[in-house]
């Protein structure tokens, strides 16, 4: 799956550039996400991974280039069109972003109540089904503050899939989880994607867990796609960044030292006042 074909792609980014003020974040990014697949976008912190998700969700607009979702150019959509598109998307935020003033049940019911006029009985059934899917039906009456990090992530996942989205985006879904919760979330991402017939994009730097569940990986470094391929292909990659990233080496294309003046000259300067 090294070059996904255009007619089967749900999401495409073509030559996308984006930056804040004078600081470029993404430079000429080309990326395709085929329908029904789970695709990971990997890279170090600050490499522009989350920015890609925000561009796809229309929370940011590309300065140049094109972002298409289900054939629609996101930049061309007005606010109503964008909101219609977002009803078909779901996004799981890094720490869940649950509404802390309402219960787990009401969090999952939130998108259903906002976007449908279904009677309470049907909403109740749907919420119970979504919570059952993430294994937290028993936590329906709890408040978000009572949940562990892994549970909060699962509740947020139930809320994300409440409207059966065509595209599910995950922003660092594995961050800060214990090994069991991490495996549970990984397993849920894959199973829910296949069960719902959805397409998933995972932004992560967790190599081990994501390699187990994704179909395709894009590596982002310094705002550019530096490598892509199936997990099996990338394990033996000779691209220096991929090699360093997958093996967790402390030095390489991503240097250990942040750019600075020469160490010797700085010490000499200090010695001479």
């Amino acid at each position: 799956m090294t070059s996904p074909s255009a007619d089967t792609d749900l999401v495409t980014l073509r030559d996308v550039n984006f930056g804040y003020s004078r600081r470029p974040v993404l430079r000429g990014v080309d990326l395709s996400v085929p329908k029904g697949k789970v695709v990971a976008i990997m890279g170090g912190s600050g490499s522009g991974k989350t920015t890609i998700l925000r561009l796809i969700g229309g929370q940011l607009r590309a300065q140049t280039g094109e972002v298409r979702v289900a054939g629609a150019d996101i930049a061309q959509l007005d606010s109503n069109g964008l909101f219609r598109m977002r009803r078909r998307m779901g996004m799981l935020f890094q720490f869940g972003a649950l509404f802390t003033d309402i219960s787990v049940y009401d969090n999952v019911a939130f998108p259903l109540r906002e976007h449908t006029s279904l009677p309470d009985e049907i909403i109740n059934d749907l919420v119970i089904m979504k919570l059952e899917a993430v294994g937290l039906r028993g936590a329906a009456r709890m408040r978000p503050a009572e949940l562990s990090g892994g549970m909060a992530r699962r509740v947020a996942l139930a809320r994300t899939i409440a409207l059966d989205p065509m595209l599910i985006m995950y922003d660092e879904p594995f961050a800060g989880l214990d090994p069991i919760s991490l495996a549970v979330i990984g397993d849920l991402i894959r199973r829910l994607n296949d069960a719902l017939g959805a397409t998933s994009i995972i932004v992560t730097h967790d190599v081990f867990e994501s390699m187990k569940i994704v179909d395709h990986i894009y590596f982002v470094a310094d705002g550019r796609i530096v490598a892509q391929g199936a997990p099996g292909e990338l394990r033996g990659s000779s691209v220096p960044f991929v090699h360093q990233f997958l093996n967790g080496e402390t030095d390489g294309p991503v240097p250990f030292h942040y750019p600075a003046a020469s160490f010797q000259s700085e010490l000499m300067e200090a010695a001479h006042g």
Partner: protein
């Protein structure tokens, strides 16, 4: 020379930054007004905020009003007695409260209790990505979160100012009639005769409504604009209280000039 140029640049940058922020705040408030339909169509959302901003402010506003009225009566009685007009203490208390202290002190208390809470809540929702999550669920956070809080504040403030004044008059009555022996009938009849409905009460209500708009607009804007960090939310909360207090005092002066100019009251 370089020093002067640097100073001018810094001054210019500061001014431009202030103007830019004012423009941004105005645009934000225009969006709040544009997206206010949900706050009225689904009034339960606004009712919930009315409870948090208004009902939960009742104790501090009521108790403060009571004490302010009691102190006014004590101080006023002493001075008026020197002129043989101790019976007018009711008029003094009611006039001070309805025209000035009611709207102003209730405004300052409202900014400290409800304004800061609104800023902190919206700021924390932003920090924990709840507002972003709402956007991604195709729910407009300005319509769903900001507008109900804004309108709840605008509705609450005149009611709280009225309650402050009523409690103040009650406090004044306790001190003047029950403690200092002013005649009960004189206390109320003089007040009734001297307080003009339009120039006193209506203008007081207008003042408190204007303060309500100013305080709540500052509170929701500071919360929505807060940098998404602990320090950012803390600074935004402080800015809400300081800016609201200054806005209330400045607006009070401007409104007083327009309302009471040439009336001799």
């Amino acid at each position: 020379m370089d020093e002067v140029a640097r100073l001018l640049r810094r001054l210019g940058a500061g001014v431009i930054d202030r103007i830019w922020r004012l423009g941004y705040a105005s645009r934000f408030m225009a969006m709040v007004l544009r997206d206010s339909t949900m706050a009225f169509r689904r009034f339960s959302l606004t009712m919930r905020e009315l409870y948090f901003a208004g009902v939960l402010s009742l104790v501090i506003v009521g108790v403060s009003g009571l004490f302010v009225g009691m102190v006014l009566a004590l101080q006023g009685f002493e001075t008026l007695q020197n002129f043989g007009a101790a019976e007018a203490v009711g008029v003094l208390v009611a006039t001070s409260l309805v025209k000035e202290l009611g709207p102003v002190v209730a405004g300052l208390l409202f900014a400290s209790r409800a304004g800061s809470a609104i800023t902190a809540e919206i700021g924390l929702m932003k920090t924990t990505e709840q507002l972003s999550a709402m956007e991604m669920m195709a729910v407009n956070p300005i319509a769903r979160v900001v507008a109900p809080r804004f309108w709840a504040g605008v509705i609450s403030m005149p009611l709280l100012a009225a309650i402050f004044s009523v409690m103040g008059v009650f406090g004044g009555w306790i001190v003047a009639v029950k403690l200092l022996g002013v005649d009960n009938g004189t206390f109320w009849s003089q007040m009734q005769a001297q307080i003009d409905f339009r120039l006193g009460i209506v203008n007081g209500i207008i003042k408190s409504a204007v303060f309500g708009v100013a305080i709540t607009a500052i509170a929701v804007f500071e919360g929505y604009d807060a940098p998404p960090t602990a320090e950012g939310v803390a600074s935004a909360t402080t800015r809400t209280v300081v800016a609201s207090a200054l806005a209330v005092l400045a607006l009070d002066f401007v409104l007083t000039v327009f309302m009471f100019r040439g009336t001799g009251l």
